[in-house]
């Protein structure tokens, strides 16, 4: 069982918000990803299915629909560079190149030492402060290519 007692207690509280328990599934998957190794493992899927009284395939079908959930292990620090229109117009291409160079990872891959996972993502809703990237959930906006190494260096 991957779900800890603390997580289960948290989910018990979470599900009280809704008339049906299943509505807590997506927020619960977020918490699992945060607490259980940075991804949604097959074990997490089985355990969530048991908790939410669903079939594992139903949990898998939900987890696989949403881009924020990783279904395979990723590097310790997740670097997401926006590639959508407002960022593209203001130099997102240079930001992604700087991120590739610093991490040594290709987009959609982790660095060899497992320190970084690099991805290009669609609009993150910070268009008036483009270009931008998200590192471990934190927004970094109005970027210059030179900022990338400094920001990523802070994870060391």
């Amino acid at each position: 069982m991957a779900l800890t007692a603390a997580l289960k207690a948290e989910f018990d509280e979470l599900c009280k918000k809704y008339p049906e328990r299943r509505a807590g599934l997506i927020p619960a998957l977020h918490r699992c990803q945060e607490e259980l190794g940075g991804w949604i493992s097959p074990e997490t899927i089985t355990d969530c299915a048991e908790y939410f009284k669903l079939e594992p395939v139903e949990v898998y079908s939900v987890a696989s629909f949403y881009p924020m959930f990783f279904l395979s292990p990723v590097g310790q620090h997740v670097v997401s560079v926006c590639r959508n229109i407002s960022c593209d117009l203001r130099g997102a291409g240079e930001i992604i190149n700087a991120a590739k160079e610093h991490t040594g990872a290709a987009c959609g891959e982790s660095s060899e030492d497992g320190h970084f996972y690099l991805e290009q993502v669609e609009c993150q809703g910070a268009c008036t402060n483009a270009p931008m990237m998200v590192v471990d959930g934190k927004y970094h906006e109005d970027l210059e290519p030179a900022d990338v190494a400094r920001i990523l260096g802070e994870t060391r």
């Binding site: 049906e20 599934l25 924020m68 959508n84 229109i85 117009l89 268009c127 008036t128």
Partner: protein
Amino acid sequence: MTSHETYLLNRAKLADSHTLEVARADGAYGALRKVFETSMSPEDVVEEVKKSGLRGRGGAGFPTGLKWSFMPNHESDSRTRYMAVNADESEPGTCKDRVLLREDPHCLIEGCLIAAFAMRLDAVYVYVRGEYRLPYDRMQAALDEARAAGILGDNILGSGFSCEIHMHKGAGAYICGEETGLMESLEGKRGHPRPKPPFPASFGLWGQPTTVNNVESIFNVPFILDRGADWFRTLGTESSPGNFLCGISGHVERPGVYEVPLGISARAIVEDLAGGIWKGRSLKAWFPGGSSTGVLPADMLDTPMDHDSVKAAGSMFGTGAMIILDETASVVRSALVLARFYEHESCGQCSQCREGTEWLEQIVDRMLSGQGKAGDVQLLTDLSNGMTPGKTICALSDAAAIPMLAAIKHFRSEFEACIPTTAEALV
């Protein structure tokens, strides 16, 4: 320089505007108190919002009061009643709701409670896109403060009225900003839009009567109730009253979220507020209201920014998020960036959208990499026409096709320039 009355972002300029203390000192919850103390009936509140002419700020511009009036009569329908506030802000170019959630969550709570009173709701869910961590945390902290102060939960402000507001976190899917996709997602499922009818007011969350409103729409409500529908109508235009938040991004000197009256010219926003086109360049093209609205050429920049005027110009007001392309930008490249986005975000239920978005991406991609074929521009046009209007469960297919058709209409020569001439192709 443009000068006009503002109300949406005034509080946001105060230090610690997100706290109950600062918000209350600035008048927060005064409109809610007024509703309770003047013994307005729920129907009176709906009527006032209808009278204001407020139109939804999430993209479609549907009249908010009218939407509220679609909720079934509470005497003949005793089911549980819900509202979902759409804070799944994901339309490229759009980042206004983020500012409101982060800087003035108490105004949103006040708007939700007035809406809850008006529609006799049992609970409100605020569906925030998963990436918006700070806005989510600010909203949750504000709800906790409001509850401790007797403004949320049972017997709000001693009025006898009770309502719950819950936060809910999405997980990065654009389609969950579509109201029925949002409801499916809130129920813990894949965000697959539902066919309509039935409409949410009769069959919404868990099959119960539900209204879905955008953050900025609800944010206007306390001001309308506090100052009156007549005051609201002094701002904006006859058919689109009030102010709106214009997020302007791309090739301007000062991108930002600006509060302006509906009907202001797009030129005033670009040139006065946003400081003009960056680097001393000139304008080539602009999207009036997010990536799903048709791109317009520079010579249409005097278009007034309101629903009817932008529609008459052949596009849509959408979310009011202007995206600006300077003379050096490639419209074809922007078409590729957006085609890739819609391909990524299509939920896959309808074949026109699932296949169509992928084909659009592939064709524009090959055109930009020098592999375009004679007839590709016509192919893009035919394909797009097969994806719109109203051919699919939801409007994502239209959102992908309409900007493509607009880009080809206004910038056809740019697309054609990507096709090798016959002589080159023969070599």
